[in-house]
């Protein structure tokens, strides 16, 4: 039985775990610090309920685009793992179909780095704290 696609792909094209962890850490650092700043800004602006969360997600996407064009330079697969899909057709009998390629690393950039976890909680902390102190 041939090994699963992802496994054989990583045997042929190994990745450096330290560097993956380093890149994810850089992204989540940016996200958590900027989320706190965004929370303070939302508190100053006096945003409420959905407007505040909308502000958070839109601003984080702007930060993602800065990250994408300044640090990644439009080549996400170079810095983030993504997942393995069959190269060419899905026919696993052909060599091409068995080899596979990495794709979908953009998800790690635009939605990763703790966007919904650490970032969001930092944002709510800054938002509620500053909003309460100022008014």
């Amino acid at each position: 039985m041939p090994p699963p696609l992802a496994e054989s792909h990583f045997l042929l094209h190994p990745l450096v775990p330290d560097n993956i962890a380093h890149n994810v850490r850089v992204l989540s650092n940016i996200r958590s610090i900027s989320a706190l700043l965004l929370g303070i800004a939302a508190g100053i602006l006096g945003l409420e309920s959905l407007a505040g969360f909308g502000f958070y997600f839109i601003s984080q996407q702007l930060i993602s685009s800065l990250f994408w064009f300044i640090l990644i330079e439009n080549d996400a697969e170079r810095y983030f793992a993504g997942n393995v899909v069959p190269k060419g057709s899905a026919n696993t009998k052909s060599v091409e179909g068995r080899e596979g390629k990495r794709t979908g690393a953009w998800r790690d950039v635009w939605f990763g780095g703790g966007l919904f976890t650490e970032g969001l909680s930092g944002f709510v902390l800054g938002w509620a704290g500053v909003g309460g102190v100022i008014r």
Partner: protein, 120 residues
Amino acid sequence: MSVFSRTLLVLGLLSLFHAAYSAHEFSAIATKLHVKPDLPMDIKLETLTAVVLACFGLVLGSEPLRPIAWNVWAGNIEKEGGAANPFRALEERSNYVDIRAKRREFAEWAKGGGGVVSSE
């Protein structure tokens, strides 16, 4: 972190603090006068500019990313050499040093006046 990005970050933080103080003063006066107007436009603009500046500084000043594919990363290590190489212990084994060759190299270097040699 370069000077430029740090300046942006500090400028953004100071400006954000200033906007927060302005908003606080405004709300204190508004409470005293028993009116509830919107925040003035200049405070809003200052807040948004401050946060954009700070985020820009943050992204510019973050550590450079490292390529994750082993072949790309190994190429970088080869180019830079030195301590980053994880196989350095294998490549430079003192037990296998060719001491005669090293001696000859040194003699030539000493004869040539002992200047700086470009490593080849």
